[in-house]
Every structure is written in structure tokens, then in C-alpha cells.
Symmetry: C2
Subunit: 525 residues, 2 copies
């Protein structure tokens, strides 16, 4: 075989391959004879296989784009090929992507970004002066005055200053230091980086990371990748998904048996659950973290998505600060935000930041070093983040339009959240907690025993079974609760409220109920 191969490549072949790419020389013919290779490809064992691959990567799961979404893609292809179904399109209610659902970008943000992208437009009368001013400021802070240069690894300086100023305003004057601000490639990148730098130890000293159940499955995926230990604490479904410090304590105590718990992750407002934590709850959590020496991660990407008039977003940073210096000088806290949610919905730009306070002085250098290997986050995403934290203000030319667009988007989100909650609660077998914030409903579905058995016979989690049926019968793609975690014996799914087109949704929800009844009757497809 080697000789044949050698003949082929040692220059016995003409340089111009034949129509199917293989050389046609006599050497190739001879090689084929030696190799006993038919014109079809021979296949030898691969270097990279399920057995040889990184086992930590193999263990990773990410349900938001997992098996049900792959199924949705297959169904879309079938629809394209003209195969008839009970529906004409797949509704992708699996992912928090507002613009994919038709939400319009904020005009001012896109104007500034267009000006930054193609600075010739700074001479165009079609753009307002306040947008031009923002664009010039950003460009002047970029290498070569261009979005095309790498920025500093921590991000463009003036954007970090703007982020710090935003945080200070948001938090009623609690100071934020630009030096503690790091621009990131979406919040996911920041969360992953912080977890990466934290995880160490082996055996029973391996770092434990406390995460809420249900959680946004980035956390469990990164914990798998890093071979850290996942420590679950359960949110209280009976109590609108509240976080109870006793439950934190329970989870921590049990975890100490088999790992070194060092990190506590909070998602507020919650994903998938949508609960907005009370100030008291946040204080309790901070005290717990201080007492038990836990590094706090506060995922606050939905800070602009609070619907319930009884709820208010309090940042962990602000509450920490107001608890006095014993806490505010000592609790290591990383808080995350993103351009993907809120009212701007700029998921595709992969913009985000983290504010990381009370780091050991030697650690900061390590963090920047780690970030520097990837050079910098996309500068266009940094520019988007700048507009998010530094939008038009009253008196500015673009303010009125900005205000209208923002209110329209947030009003639409709030309305759809409420309608979704109400509609789900009309369907027998489905119960939806009040939606306080974020973008999803995470209703509980009561799956009868026979349906559970049917699912198990199909080797599926019962809620995955339900969701697959829902997808096949109605075209609605939601993510089963098993992808986020849930108490044993309970079943849920996560549904993006924005995907509700109301006439259609009633049809869909009617079918949801019908699916339930059929499952209850024990029918299988």
C-alpha cells in the first residue's frame, strides 16, 4: 500500500487532475492495482472517533440547540421538499432570538453601527447628528479609527468607560470602575472565561459550581467541558421559582462530600423560569456567598426584561455595595450583561460585558492574559454594547424615536408574556407560573403515567416525547424541561413568548391540550 501511495505522490502524476479529481497517470493506475482500490474511496480507521475524542466534550449537552432542534430542521427540509404536514412552517420557539421572530432593531443603534462600518456616511445628510457624534467617538478610540482593528483584549477603552458610567447610573450612583469592565463575545464568553479560570483541583478537591435548577444550559455545558463538578440547587416552583437560601445551604453541605464548592451562579431575571429576585433574596444570597466563601456569578442579561409591576431589577453589584464594606470589599462578584436580550435583541453581534470586582490583584493579569489569547471580542459587538449602555437621552435629536421603539418592543414583550401565561393556564394539564421577567414561559406539564411509559419505551425523557409530538403535530419547536433540569418526576418545556402569533397560537395551544388528552388516554402514535 505504501509503495502504491508513494508512486502516486512522488510526482508520477500529472499536475492537472482529471474530471473527477484523481490523476490519470499510469502510476495512479498501477497504484490502484497495488492498493486494490476500486474507484470508490477506501476507508481506514479514523484518528478522531467517539472513543478517542475529548470525553469532556462528549459529555457536553446543550438542549437549546439539541435533538429537538435538529428534528425541527429536518421537518423544515421536508416542508421545503413539499411533504405535506398539518402546518406550513416550523415555529422556532426554542431560542431567545427576538429579531428572528420579527422584532425590529433599534434604529439609532443600527445607524451608529452603519456609520462606524462605513465612515463615508458621516457626510450623509440622512443620518442624525447625535448618531454621528457617537460613531466618531467610537472610531477615534479604535486602532486606525476602524472597527477592523483588534481592540485591547479587555475591550475598547471608551466603551468600557461608557459601560462603567451606565452601571453607576443604573445603580443609583454606586460607582463602577472601568478597569473592572471587560467586553466579551456575548455573555456566554464571559461566563465561560470566568468559570475556566476558577476551576482547579482533583478528586474530592475538584471545584464545585453551584447552579440553579432549572438553569440555562450554558452552565452545565461549560462545567462538563471543564470537568468541574455541577452542584444543583433547586428553585421553588410552588413559590414562583423563588430562590431559598436553605436550599442553597442544603446543596452546599451535600456537595462538600465530594467536591470543593467555590462558585455560586445566579441568573436574575431567571432563564428559563423568568423569576425576578427580590432585594431581600439578593441580600440573603450575598450573605450566604460571603459566609461560605463562594465566588458569585450574576447572570443579568435580562435586566431590561421585567414585566411584573410588583417586581424590580436589583443588580447584585448594587445590593452588595449597599450591604457595606465587609461585603462590598470582599465578595468576589462577576456580573454579566449582553446585547442579545433587553429591548435591542442584537444576538448576532455577540456583544457583552462583565464587571468583575474584588479580584485578587494578581488574578487580574491572569484574566487579561487568558482573554488575550483570543485577541479581542468582535469590535462591532463592542460598538453595539456601547449604544446599549449609552442610548439617546432627552433633548437629543434621536431620543423620541428611540423612546417610542424601546417602549413598543418592551410593551410587546410584556403583552405576549402575559397572554402566553394566560393561554397556557387555560389548557388542561399545563400550569404556568406568573412570568415576572426574561422572555420565556416554562410551564409544567402533567404527563400521565401511560405516556411516561410510552416515552420510556421510546428511550426518551417524557417531556422530550411530549415536545417531539408537539413539534410533529403543530410545528412548534420548544425545548423540553429535561434540557434545563427540573425536580424528579416533574416535566416542563421552555417556550419563547415572542413566537406567539395569536390566532395561530390558539390553534397551537388547542393542539397542546389535545396532545395532552391523547397522551392521557394512553394512545401512542
Amino acid at each position: 500500500m505504501q509503495r502504491a501511495a508513494a508512486l502516486v505522490w512522488r510526482g508520477c502524476c500529472p499536475r492537472t487532475p482529471g474530471p473527477w479529481g484523481r490523476s490519470q497517470s499510469s502510476a495512479a493506475a498501477e497504484a490502484s492495482a497495488v492498493l486494490k482500490v476500486r474507484p470508490e474511496r477506501s476507508r481506514r480507521e479514523r484518528i478522531l472517533t467517539l472513543e478517542s475524542m475529548n470525553p469532556q466534550v462528549k459529555a457536553v449537552e446543550y438542549a437549546v440547540r439539541g435533538p429537538i432542534v435538529l428534528k425541527a430542521g429536518e421537518i423544515e427540509l421536508e416542508l421545503q421538499r413539499g411533504i405535506k404536514k398539518p402546518f406550513t412552517e416550523v415555529i422556532r420557539a426554542n431560542i431567545g432570538d427576538a429579531q428572528a421572530m420579527g422584532q425590529q432593531p433599534i434604529t439609532f443603534l443600527r445607524q451608529v453601527m452603519a456609520l462606524c462600518t462605513y465612515p463615508n456616511l458621516l457626510d450623509s445628510p440622512s443620518f442624525p447628528e447625535d448618531a454621528k457624534k457617537r460613531a466618531r467617538r467610537i472610531l477615534q478610540a479604535c486602532g486606525g479609527n476602524s472597527l477592523g482593528s483588534y481592540s485591547a483584549s479587555q475591550g475598547v477603552n471608551c466603551i468600557r468607560e461608557d459601560v462603567a458610567a451606565y452601571i453607576t447610573r443604573r445603580d443609583g450612583g454606586v460607582p463602577a470602575d472601568p478597569d473592572n469592565i471587560y467586553l466579551t463575545t456575548g455573555a456566554s464568553d464571559g461566563i465561560s472565561t470566568i468559570l475556566k479560570i476558577l476551576v482547579s483541583g482533583g478528586g474530592k478537591s475538584r471545584t464545585g459550581v453551584m447552579i440553579p435548577i432549572p438553569q440555562y444550559p450554558l452552565y452545565s455545558a461549560v462545567i462538563s467541558e471543564l470537568d468541574a463538578i455541577q452542584v444543583n440547587y433547586y428553585l421553588d416552583e410552588e413559590n414562583c421559582w423563588a430562590l431559598n437560601v436553605n436550599e442553597l445551604r442544603r446543596a452546599l453541605q451535600e456537595a462538600k462530600d465530594h467536591c470543593d464548592p467555590k462558585v455560586l451562579c445566579i441568573i436574575n431575571p431567571g432563564n428559563p423560569t423568568g423569576q425576578v429576585q427580590s432585594r431581600k433574596c439578593i441580600e440573603d444570597v450575598i450573605h450566604f456567598a460571603w459566609e461560605e466563601k463562594l465566588f458569585l456569578l450574576a447572570d443579568e442579561v435580562y435586566q431590561d426584561n421585567v414585566y411584573s409591576p410588583d417586581c424590580k431589577f436589583h443588580s447584585f453589584k448594587k445590593v452588595l455595595y449597599e450591604m457595606g464594606p465587609e461585603y462590598s470589599s470582599n465578595v468576589e462578584l462577576a456580573s454579566f450583561h449582553s446585547t442579545s436580550k433587553g429591548y435591542m435583541g442584537e444576538c448576532g453581534y455577540r456583544g457583552g460585558y462583565m464587571e468583575v470586582i474584588n479580584l485578587h490583584p494578581e488574578i487580574k493579569g491572569q484574566l487579561v492574559k487568558l482573554l488575550s489569547v483570543r485577541l479581542c471580542p468582535p469590535v462591532s459587538g463592542q460598538a453595539a454594547m456601547d449604544i446599549v449602555v449609552n442610548p439617546p437621552v432627552p433633548g437629543e435629536e434621536s431620543f423620541e424615536q428611540f423612546r417610542r421603539e424601546k417602549e413598543s418592543v418592551l410593551g410587546n414583550l410584556a403583552k405576549k408574556a402575559k397572554l402566553t401565561e394566560d393561554l397556557f393556564n387555560q389548557v388542561p394539564g399545563i400550569h404556568c407560573n406568573p412570568l415576572q421577567g426574561a422572555m420565556y414561559a416554562f410551564p409544567q406539564i402533567f404527563i400521565p403515567r401511560k405516556a411516561v411509559e410510552a416515552a420510556q419505551a421510546h428511550k426518551m425523557a417524557p417531556d422530550m416525547f411530549y415536545c417531539m409530538k408537539l413539534l410533529e403535530e403543530t410545528g412548534i419547536c420548544v425545548v423540553p424541561g429535561s434540557g434545563f433540569g427540573q425536580r424528579e418526576g416533574t416535566y416542563h418545556f421552555r417556550y419563547l413568548c415572542l413566537s406567539a402569533a395569536w390566532g395561530w397560537s390558539q390553534l397551537g395551544l388547542g393542539k397542546l391540550g389535545a396532545s395532552y388528552h391523547r397522551a392521557r388516554a394512553g394512545s401512542r402514535d
Copy 2:
């Protein structure tokens, strides 16, 4: 201490903090008394320290933005504060960022991106029709027709098709399958992802990754992060940095003693060395990888940067294909490209792709799963990549301007590369190999023994010592060869050719020579 803290946070404080943020209640006063806390902060031990952090992250080094660049930043701040120096600005010749050096973006690319960013511009007469057509095509392939939606994790479909078409054209008809194309957040992201999925095993079975010395230090950094084993193979400086398969064989044999070598990384054109591999060399390498069962990574981000008329870029994919089916059906190959280099220099957009062929069928799903956790690469960067692979063609309205701009940029790069090479070779104590491609010079500097001793007394690598002096005396920031790897006892630095402003550079290079002579004379400062 706990009681005081408890008093402070259990609601004894008024909600409105005082001017310096701390509550002013009597409880706080009592707490302070109990804690014996003065108004200054108390400091307790941190959770995240050099001892407790991820040791793999601690081991990471990335010289391109390492200590010398931090020093350059300090000097810039000193200049800003008015401190007098022998120069008025720092020249950042440490990083391959063309636009930071004043290179202009390609107009057509920025026009298409502006149209995608702010589609109102599709109605503007100021944009050519061919740019609008490209923009519409990209937007139609995006969710919600917006760059602000997440794309599929593998990237926008039509952009992957365009990349595959580009590869096929570039490779003279050798077919590329869009299904093997993955858009990435710069090439760094793709390289890191592939290495991550490959690394496994423990002890003497830990995955070994063969990398060239000198290398672009992303490779060593990622190998550190993943706790894989770095296996060095030395490029031949006497022979214009050629890759010699005997050296590959030597490195592999030695490595088998202590690890499981599974991966062979090639950078072509080379970074920092700039050599362009001959076709024969590529065939030799492919045969070696086939014979020794190594997964091939071909980093080809400089494929558009070839200067020497005696050299030609051959893609690994094309050569592999032309070696016949025993190779082309079996060798697992990942090839990488980026928007950061070439003639477009769009570093800040973090655009890139990888073409991965001959993966085990079960592995592809694992790869897409891993990518899905980060959702998708920035869609703006994907759009930039689309224009790179699908630029204006003859007959199109924008072609002439595009052609002129491209030729101007590449001509300028080629000229500066030659001038840099010639100038360095005029300086005693510096020898620069011919620059065949990429964007850097990597000259060897002959540091006399006394200077080496002086460096060691400062606990610095001798070339770091030299580069620090160069920075302090001339403001030129280059990266010492020790950051890239080099044969024991040799010293180099990497210099971005683009940063040569000619009048200035002669001054700089004159000083380079002066520095050398002073070092030779054994002077220390």
C-alpha cells in the same frame, strides 16, 4: 464579625445610601464598631488566587500581547503624561493588525456590511447595485433578515456555500462541500475548537500536538489550556525556515516516549517565519501524516500574502486531493482561513472559517454540538468572510475599484516586506531570511555573551532584554523570539513589516545597530 455583618444587611439600613455609597444607619455604625472597621476597606482572603486558580490557565503564555506589550502601554501612558522620551510615539510592530497601521478597508466590503447593518441604505443611490445585491443575499439568509439574529451554529448557509465555491475555484476545481465548512470567530476560535475536541487520554497516553518552532503562540497557549502535550518540530533557519520531514520524524519518535501524538499543526505561509511551503514539501507532510496517523491542521490565514515570485500558495486540501483517494478519503484535515489578514485586514470583525474533511460521521455531530454552546460566530464577521470569498468579479460595477484597492494593499505589503528584509540585513548583528509571505520579519539577532549575561542577571531571556531596550530607546515594540520558540542559543524578534515608516525606520534601524554595538561592548544600563 458575623453579627455586625448581619446587622448591616438584615434591613437595618435605609435603602438610600449616603454620598459614598455606604449606609449611614446606626446599625452600620454599630457594625463598624463591632467589626472594628475603619472607613477603609477590610480585606480578607480571596477565593480566586494564583494558588487556587486553574493551573492550566496559569501556564498559558501569549507573547504577542505579553509583557513587552504591557511595557509599551506603560510607555504610551508616560508619553501622554508629558514625560520626555527619545521618541514621540510607540510603534506597535508586535501584532498583525494592518488597519491599525493605517491600511484602508476594502470599500466594497464595508459597503456591503453597511447595507447589511442598516438596510434602509438599500434605497440610497450612493451604493452600487452589486453591493446591494450581495447584501440582500446575505440578509435573506439571516433569521428575521437581520445580522442581529443568531445564525445556525455552523454559520449562515449561503455563506458556507460561498466559502465552498471559493475553495473550489481557488483549488482549480477540487470540490469543497458546504457541509464541511464551519464559520468561526476568527481562525483562533476554529483552531481552539478542533484541538479541544481532539485532546484526550492521561499520563503517557495524553494527546501530543506537533507544532512548528517557531510558532504562532496561539498553539502553545491552547495546548496549555487543554493540558495537552506540546511536541516541537524545528523549522530549518539555514534553509529559509523550510520544513523537513526528517525533523518531523525525529520529533514524533521522541514524543512517543511520553505521550500519544495525534495531531500535526502546519502554518503555511508561516507565522512568524513567513516561509511558503513548496508543493513537494506539502506532499511529504501529507504522506507523513497519513503514514503516522496524524490529524492535520493547516493554518492558511496568510494564503493571500505571498510575495516571492518563486513561491506559490498551495492549499493542503488541494494537494491532498490530488494525491489520490487513499490520501484524500482518509487523511483527516482541518484547514483554517480568516478575515484578519490577506488584503482586507478585518481583524476586529473576528471572521473566519474552517474546512474539515474526512471526519468520522459520528464526530461531526459532536463538533456541531460543541459549537452550539457558544450559539454562533458573530454574524457581522460571517458577512465579512462572505465578501472575502465572494468579491467583485470582472464586469461588475465595483470590480475596478476593488482591483485597484487590492493591488495597492498587496503591493504595499510586498514592498514593505522587501524593504524590511533589506534594511535588517544592513544592520550588523542582524540577519533576516528572505520574506516569502505572511506579514512579518523574524530576523536573527546575534547577542554577544556579555549581553546574554546581563539579561540573565535581569532574569530575562536575552532577546526579551534586547527588545525591552529597543522599546525604551526607540519606541518600537516587537515581540522577542522566545515568545514564538527558537533553537537553543539563537535569538530573534518578530516585526510587523507594515509598521515601517521609512524615514523613521532608518532611524529605528540605525538605533537597532547602535543597540547591538552597545550590547556587544558589554554595556548595561
